[in-house]
Assembly symmetry: C2
Homo-oligomer: 261 residues x 2
């Protein structure tokens, strides 16, 4: 689906924003960029802000009209910031991403365009009328105008989130979680019970727990540790702490210190 989505930037003033948009696209796996009548392009500011997404810039198509940019598209969604008088199907970025998915599901070859207007003036009414849907990023009405590259980022992010969920790919980094679990086997029930016994014994020794009036203390502690789903290695650490606590309580550390004085 991602390769069917083209990002169309109309009459962009600042080449830095073109580079920022290219970077945001590549971050989210989008590749197809079309520039309609950019004010300054190519320009070193675009490459500098692209920060490595030069391939997206190199493959960008530069055209002179929106009509050319939209050639072959089945669905066109245009971002709209301003209050408009003409009623039009209006979606938020998540709904826009969902429309992209629905389009792709209905026809894997359908081309989709996400259209972004000028930095200060957005899209004209004539341009907006070429879009089947208007996308509004739900910004604070008191300060609603997003930077162009960050607006591209929000849409590209929603498209990617929708795609990852649709294809049941994790939205976290899978490698990290997998790596994290290596050598981090969960503690067994038996070893947890030995830990709780050890904990209770220690709490009695340090006079924190009165066996005559236990006041549900152990249950509370079990709840705390239960929630944290301890790993084997973590139980070993906690039991090490308990052992040292017991030594201290029994005066062993203090005695040893005494020997060194």
């Amino acid at each position: 689906m991602l390769e069917k989505i083209r990002v169309v930037l109309v009459n962009t003033s600042h080449p830095g924003n073109i580079g920022g948009a290219a970077r945001a696209m590549k971050n989210m796996g989008l590749k197809s960029l079309v520039l309609v009548d950019p004010e300054k392009y190519p320009h070193p500011d675009a490459n500098s802000r692209a920060a490595g997404a030069d391939d997206v810039l190199d493959n960008a198509r530069v055209v002179s009209t929106l009509e050319e940019a939209l050639g072959g598209c089945s669905v066109v969604l245009g971002t709209s910031a301003r209050d408009r008088r003409i009623p039009w199907p209006l979606v938020d970025p998540r709904e826009a991403a969902d429309l992209c998915l629905q389009t792709w599901q209905a026809d894997h070859d359908a081309e989709i365009a996400l259209v972004f207007g000028r930095e200060y003036a957005g899209l004209t009414n004539a341009e907006l009328q070429r879009c089947q849907y208007h996308i509004h990023i739900p910004s604070d009405p008191e300060f609603s105008s997003l930077n162009l590259a960050t607006a591209v980022q929000v849409l590209a992010y929603e498209v990617r989130m929708t795609w990852l969920k649709e294809t049941q790919q994790p939205t976290h980094m899978p490698e990290v979680e997998a790596t994290g679990m290596l050598g981090a086997a969960p503690a067994t029930h038996d070893s947890l019970e030995l830990f709780y016994e050890h904990l209770q014994e220690t709490l009695v020794e340090i006079d924190f727990l009165d066996p005559e009036k236990p006041r549900h203390l152990m249950a509370r502690l079990r709840r705390i540790y239960g929630r944290s789903q301890l790993k084997k290695s973590e139980v070993n650490i906690l039991r090490g702490i308990l052992t040292e606590t017991q030594k201290a309580a029994r005066g062993e550390v203090i005695q040893r210190r005494g020997e060194h004085v």
Copy 2:
């Protein structure tokens, strides 16, 4: 909830990114910015990229350590781009926004921090260990490093979306939809039936519809127009087109043209 969320930028190199982050925050209704040991700040590039979010910059706190920045926070979420060996609770931006909401629901006074690292190196392991949760923006693993301000934008956007949904505020512009409906009353059933009669009559006249073999054509057309939920004014436009079509079919236009030749 939004006023309880502070954005913490650690050791930022480019003041332009601080301004871009301030703008993204203000766009989404966040106000509290904390800068930990920024390389260059204050700086005109910050104000220029803030594009009107100068109040966020003016109220930003500059501190020298992450510890100071996190004072009073109940929940700390840190963005993490790099593959890490230490397993840690890892969430995507939507889950992070949900954690913010849960925290606020449990205690309306709880302070929450979203922490963003250096442009090139992110947060150090020591800094990440001060965070209860790590946030990963699910970027393309081949090109995963987002611009700092756009990363702030994605998180601020998710927080705002979660907040709007929780408080049952629309994620589209409500004014536009309301304005759009004024003077755009839906067509009545009667006027729709008159339109369909007119349409059928016209289609017969132009020899598109054979009354002997209608082939469900009118049913198909009813489905098309039914889906578009026509307004009164739109029915008038369509009937105007039909009237002109009938005139053309009857040769009236051609006759009139003939008179002018």
